[in-house]
């Protein structure tokens, strides 16, 4: 596995959104490996697998059946295993309260799902680039807050 490949995971119950997401990464020049799950339970099961590699960035939809994005976030933040993983919230709603609440609970990035594919591509590219900056330039991950 090449170290330059960014490992990205998305949990979203919406099939179309998963499609947009993977297509956007396919069209980007950055080398990424994308994996998607359709709910929080499936995601946590895969992540908690002992020998699974830890994603560089985890994208979480807030509104998911079985286990919501916020529940996943809280669970992830409790574990030391995922402390180097960036967590991005990937949601339809963008109320200030929602955003601040997820940040307070440890999310690093908040993305309001755009209604334009090119915007989506730009946003995802930004996220990966900035995350990579954090990864390579030794920035303090505690202060990593980004809203797109």
């Amino acid at each position: 596995m090449n170290k330059d490949v960014t490992y990205v995971v998305l949990a979203d119950d919406d099939e179309d959104d998963r499609l947009f997401f993977t297509e956007a990464f396919d069209e980007l020049k950055i080398t990424t490996q994308v994996e998607t799950y359709e709910d929080g339970v499936a995601l946590m099961k895969a992540l908690n697998c002992e020998d699974a590699s830890i994603p560089n960035i985890l994208f979480l939809d807030l509104n998911m059946p079985k286990k919501s994005g916020l529940e996943c976030l809280k669970e992830i933040k409790k574990s030391k295993r995922f402390q180097d993983m960036a967590v991005a919230i990937y949601s339809t709603s963008a109320s200030e309260e929602d955003i601040e609440n997820t940040f307070v609970n440890g999310a690093n990035i908040y993305i309001k799902k755009p209604s334009d594919f090119n915007t989506l591509k730009r946003i995802l590219s930004d996220v990966v680039t900035i995350n990579w900056q954090y990864h390579t330039s030794g920035l303090n991950r505690d202060n990593f807050l980004l809203r797109l």
């Binding site: 950055i30 601040e100 940040f103 307070v104 900056q133 390579t136 330039s137 202060n143 807050l145």
Partner: protein
């Protein structure tokens, strides 16, 4: 049964590198840590093999001088932003080209090619990063931080902060404070 061990990372790394090169029959010398001189005779095939073997140990071959230069450039920028002594009044472009001995145009292109971002953006990123750490760790007001980081006004800093992070400095301050509160009262 548990046993405890201690390591000498330098020796382990050198040993791994030596063994790998040896097994592939490549002639080499190691002038300093993190630097290998290999014989020019080595085929591209054996270099590829070497790359794969190294990857197994988590060792990356830094492809060329460009990447090294970019790394030095980054170090220089971080140093420029975070260390007050090196905060010079000359433009950052002049400062960087003088420090690294290359034209700014060359450095700029090289940087974008390797990192997908511009030097300007990287400088802003670093400055905002410094601002964040000052907000999180000190009691300095935004005005004081703006002055410390050579911003023309608080508004300028706020705008740049918002542009870079998507949130305002005040919101950032609030979120950090709430996170700490949450860490102290984990019941919530």
């Amino acid at each position: 049964m548990k046993i405890f061990v201690k390591f000498d990372f330098t020796r382990i790394c050198n040993k791994v590198i030596e063994d790998t090169l040896h097994s592939l029959g490549i002639g080499y010398t190691i002038p300093s840590f993190g630097e290998i001189e290999i014989d020019d005779k080595a085929s591209s095939e054996s270099i590829k093999q070497l790359n794969e073997r190294f990857a197994h140990y988590g060792i990356d071959i830094i492809e060329n001088q460009k990447i090294i230069l970019v790394q030095r450039l980054k170090d220089a920028i971080v140093d420029m932003v975070f260390n007050e002594e090196s905060q010079v009044n000359v433009k950052s472009s002049v400062y960087l080209s003088e420090k690294l001995g290359h034209s700014y145009g060359y450095l700029s292109n090289l940087f974008s090619e390797v990192t997908y971002t511009s030097i300007e953006n990287f400088i802003i990123l670093q400055k905002i990063e410094y601002t964040k750490s000052l907000i999180a760790k000190t009691d300095l007001s935004l005005t004081e931080i703006a002055f410390k980081l050579n911003y023309s006004s608080v508004a300028h800093l706020s705008t740049q902060f918002k542009n870079t992070t998507g949130i305002t400095p005040t919101a950032f301050q609030r979120i950090i404070a709430k996170r700490r509160e949450l860490a102290n009262n984990p019941t919530n």
